[in-house]
């Protein structure tokens, strides 16, 4: 790839925007998934404790 070629700035901006958007989307989806996994684990743990108290 010739970095001194004509219109190279358009090529670099395209790759930059694509990388940024795809990475941002990936990070958002992964983080949200992890956050919900954690939230669910906490709720299920709390429910398990409550259920244990009620039965004993």
């Amino acid at each position: 790839m010739d970095f001194s070629a004509k219109h190279m700035e358009f090529v670099l901006i395209c790759y930059g925007i694509s990388a940024f958007m795809l990475l941002a989307m990936t990070i958002t989806i992964v983080m949200r998934s992890k956050q919900r996994d954690r939230q669910l684990a906490v709720l299920e743990k709390a429910r398990g404790k409550k259920h244990h108290k009620e039965t004993s």
Partner: protein, 242 residues
């Protein structure tokens, strides 16, 4: 249909998702690595477009992803309406933001290619306008889910939006044949491809990379939506006990 029904069970789907997720993630990373190597290092500059041809390696896969995801969303919505498959609506909902990002990228990279090649960022011709309509359809679909609290009502209205909007997909595909357009016709036809293999191979690898990225993120997004519903059910049960 029995096969589809088999995965209607969220627990079974989650088990499958956990098993498949690492493999599709690895394939996605490898495809992007190979695709970018071929696109940025191996592919030659075009004799007419020069280095600008490299924009095609991110523009075409994004455009392919945008239409493919919309069709997937429309089919999922149809399955949701006809067979009342519990995962179908969630699948369509989870796909929409990914499709919207692909559409946005196709529009932006297309505009950035248009400026040096056509002398303008944007023209209101059939292909560009129908693609812009696709972006608005994605936003409308996402807005329906955001605006309506009742899950079943939101799913029904969103499915109708997705199905009505599916009419736009063939319009996008055939717009360059039906109307005069600045946009070039399809590079793939029944008689083969009009593009040299040195450009076609990286292009196809990048298309596969975007498709696998969709699969990777979509599986995670469905898992996230299932978790969200479960959290809401548990919170509701707790509130009712109190």
């Amino acid at each position: 249909m029995a096969r589809i029904e088999k995965f209607a069970n969220p627990t079974r789907f989650l088990r499958l998702q956990e098993a498949v997720q690492p493999w599709v993630t690895i394939i996605t990373v490898l495809l992007f690595a190979a695709g970018l190597y071929f696109a940025l290092v191996k592919a030659p500059a075009d004799y007419q477009q020069g280095e600008t041809v490299r924009i095609m390696f991110v523009h075409v896969p994004a455009a392919w992803g945008a239409t493919m995801v919309y069709m997937f969303m429309a089919i999922s919505s149809a399955i949701g309406i006809i067979f009342r498959h519990p995962l179908a609506d969630l699948s369509a909902k989870a796909a929409a933001p990914i499709g919207a990002v692909f559409t946005f990228l196709a529009l932006v990279t297309g505009a950035l290619w248009g400026k040096p090649m056509w002398g303008t960022y944007w023209v209101w011709d059939a292909r560009l306008t129908s693609f812009f309509v696709l972006f608005l359809l994605y936003l409308g679909y996402i807005a329906v889910w955001q605006a309506i609290d009742d899950y079943h009502r939101a799913a029904k209205i969103a499915a109708i939006v997705a199905l009505v909007g599916a009419i736009n997909v063939p319009i996008i595909k055939f717009s360059v044949e039906w109307w005069n357009s600045l946009h070039q016709p399809s590079i793939m036809s029944s008689s083969g491809s009009s593009v040299h293999s040195s450009i076609l191979i990286p292009l196809l690898i990048m298309v596969a990379a975007y498709s696998f990225l969709f699969l990777t993120l979509h599986l995670l997004a469905i898992r996230s939506e299932l978790r969200k519903r479960k959290i809401q059910q548990l919170q509701l049960a707790q509130a009712q006990k109190v």
